[in-house]
C-alpha cells in the first residue's frame, strides 16, 4: 500500500506532500459551486437551501460558510464561473481572423452550444435560474449580454450594417438567450443542438443578410 502522510491541516497528496492551503481552498470552492449547480439545476434556485448545497457538494456546513456568506453569494459565484467560461469558449472560437464575420459567428455559436451540452447543470443553473434570483443578478445579466454583444460588433463592416442602431448586437444576443432558455426549460437536450443552424441565421441576417447565413462555412 502506498504511503500517505497527513499534515495537521489534513490536506495531503499522493506521496505525502501537503497541498498548499490556497489550492485546497480553490478546489473546495469549485466543489461547492459544482454541487450548487447540480442541485439548483435539478430543483430550481428558490427551492434550494444552503443545506441542500452542502449535501450536494458533500462538504461540511462550516466549509460552505468559509467560502460564501449565503446561498445568493454562492449563486453569484456560480453565475460568474459559468458565464465566464462560456464567454471564454466563444471568444476563443471566434478569434480566427481568416474566416470572415459569418464564419466567426458560426464558430462562436457552435462553441456556445458545445459548452451548454457538456456543462448541462451549470448552463441550466445560469441560463434558466439566473433571472429568477432577483435584483442581485440584474447587473451581471446586463454585463453578460453586453460581453457577448461586443463579439458581434465586428459585423458592422457588412454593407447593410453600417446604419444599424447602437444596441442591435445586445438585442440579438438577448433573443438568442431566451431561445436557449426555453429550449433548456423543456429539458430536451437534442432540441438545444438542433437550434444551431437557426441561431446562425438569426445572428447573421441583421448584419450580413440571409445569403451570408446560408453560405458561410459551418464550424
Amino acid at each position: 500500500m502506498a504511503a500517505t502522510r497527513r499534515d495537521r491541516r489534513g490536506a495531503v497528496e499522493p506521496g505525502g506532500h501537503p497541498l498548499r492551503p490556497e489550492v485546497v481552498a480553490h478546489h473546495q470552492r469549485q466543489r461547492i459551486i459544482a454541487g450548487a449547480a447540480r442541485v439548483i439545476a435539478e430543483r430550481g434556485y428558490r427551492s434550494v437551501s444552503v443545506a441542500d448545497i452542502v449535501k450536494s457538494a458533500a462538504i461540511a456546513r462550516g466549509s460552505f460558510y468559509e467560502h460564501f456568506g449565503s446561498k445568493e453569494d454562492c449563486f453569484l459565484a456560480l453565475y460568474e464561473t459559468g458565464t465566464g467560461a462560456a464567454l471564454e469558449a466563444v471568444k476563443e472560437a471566434c478569434s480566427g481572423e481568416s474566416e470572415g464575420f459569418p464564419g466567426r459567428v458560426k464558430g462562436g455559436l457552435a462553441a456556445l452550444l458545445a459548452y451548454v451540452e457538456s456543462n448541462r447543470e451549470m448552463a441550466q443553473a445560469c441560463i434558466v435560474e439566473g433571472p429568477a434570483v432577483g435584483p442581485a443578478i440584474e447587473g451581471r445579466f446586463e454585463g453578460m449580454i453586453s460581453s457577448f454583444g461586443d463579439l458581434l460588433r465586428s459585423g458592422r463592416v457588412a454593407p447593410d450594417a453600417s446604419e444599424l442602431p447602437e444596441s442591435v448586437e445586445e438585442t440579438v444576443v438577448g433573443g438568442l438567450y431566451w431561445l436557449l432558455y426555453y429550449a433548456l426549460l423543456e429539458g430536451k437536450p437534442k432540441k438545444v443542438a438542433r437550434l444551431l443552424p437557426q441561431l446562425e441565421q438569426f445572428s447573421l441576417i441583421p448584419f450580413a443578410g440571409a445569403e451570408a447565413a446560408d453560405t458561410a462555412p459551418t464550424a
Binding site: R46, T171, V172, G175, Q198, F202, P206
Partner: protein
Amino acid sequence: MARLSDRDEYLEVIAREGYLPRDADRFAATWDSLEEAFLERLFEATVPFGNWRQRFRAAAMETARLVEAHRREARFLSVDALAAGELGRMRRARLGQRLARLLDSARDELDDSVVVPEATAGWVLGIFFDRIYRRCAAGTDPDLPSQVPELLFLAVSAYFGTRAGLEELARPLR
C-alpha cells in the same frame, strides 16, 4: 382611501416578497386575467390593419405602451413570474404559443420559395421579451417605445429579409 383589488394587492406582494408557493392560486388568477387583458388589447390594436407588417407594427407599439403605462403588471408577467416554478413556466409557455401563432401568420405572406427557420417566432418573442425583461427588472433601459424600430427591424428581417427590415428603421414612430 380606496381599497386595493385582490389582483393589485397581490402584484405588490409578489414584487416585494417574490413568489411563494402558498400564493399559487392568486398567482394563477392574476396571470390569467392579465394574459386575457393583454391579448384583448393586442387584438383591438391590430384589427384595423390588413397585412402582417401593419398588424405587427401596431402590436409592437401597443405592447411597448402597455409596458410603460402598466409597469407593475408588466413586471409581474416578465420578471416576477420567472420565479414561479412549474406554474409560471406553464403559463409563460401558453402565452408564448398564442403569440407565436400570431407571429407565424407572417408565413402566409411569404413566397413558397422562402424558407424561414422553424424557431423564428420564438426568436422574435425572445428579442421582445429580453427588452421588456430588462426594462422591468432594472428599469435602466431606454423607454420601450423608442426601441420599437430596432425590434421591428430584427423581426421583419427574420421573416422578410434584411432589406424589408431596414425599411422599419426609416419609418417614423406612431
